[in-house]
């Protein structure tokens, strides 16, 4: 079974600075997808970024980028120019390719952005 580990339960960053959230996973599959979801206090789950395992290029979405290390099974999220609105719980998630399409989530990490 796949597992996702987010070892840091909380982090803080100063506004306008850069922060990196770590995530590792365990799987025996070669094709899969990885996601970062954001959950602000409103409770809504919002997709931040996704990465297909077969792609070597790291995904980027504006201020958000990932460092995907397939051999190390590592998938970290970098937030540049942090904004107050980035404060939220961040969840790393794993999804299998084909068949069961459930997401396996890490335990989440609470990000605080200080003004």
């Amino acid at each position: 079974a796949q597992t996702v580990t987010q070892s840091q339960p909380e982090m803080s960053v100063q506004e306008a600075e850069t922060v990196t959230l770590s995530c590792t996973y365990d799987t025996s599959e070669s094709d899969y997808y990885l996601f970062w979801y954001k959950q602000p206090p409103s409770r809504q789950m919002i997709l931040v970024i996704r990465q297909e395992a077969y792609k070597q290029q790291n995904a980027t979405e504006n201020r958000f980028s990932v460092n995907f290390q397939k051999a190390a099974k590592s998938f970290s999220l970098k937030i540049s120019d942090s904004q107050l609105g980035d404060a939220a719980m961040y969840f790393c998630a794993y999804g299998s390719q084909g068949g069961s399409e459930k997401l396996v989530f890490g335990k989440g990490m609470k990000l605080t952005v200080n003004p």
């Binding site: 997709l47 719980m89 989440g108």
Partner: protein, 113 residues
């Protein structure tokens, strides 16, 4: 227009009661899910339906029964509610064929007293 909607958003009830949570998606997706988020914020899959057929049931007690009248709806019925059922329940949907983004509903906070 709301993509994935859930009703109610909040539900407070007594132990032993039976309650339902409704979910609807207007995205034309084939697959719908129920996730449970516990008090420590841990999210775990409960059920998944594809075109009204159950494809995932993750060791959820029999008291939980999902029902999909059509592929746009996936309701969750819970019998004989227990204190441990208190959680936030999220409905989600995604398009079949390739693993695409799962769109989540706003969640239903269930409190069992």
């Amino acid at each position: 227009d709301t993509a994935v909607s859930q009703t109610p958003k909040y539900l407070v009830t007594q132990m032993g009661n039976d309650k339902s949570i409704k979910c609807e998606q207007n995205l034309g997706h084939d697959t719908m899910y129920w996730y449970k988020q516990d008090s420590k914020k841990f999210l775990k899959i409960m059920f998944s339906y594809n075109n009204k057929e159950l494809i995932i049931n993750e060791t959820v007690p029999n008291r939980f029964s999902p029902k999909s009248p059509d592929k746009a709806h996936l309701n969750l019925h819970i019998n004989s509610l227990e204190l441990g059922d208190s959680a936030v329940y999220f409905c989600a949907s995604s398009q079949e064929a390739s693993f695409n983004e799962q769109f989540f509903g706003p969640g239903t906070r269930l409190t069992v007293l």
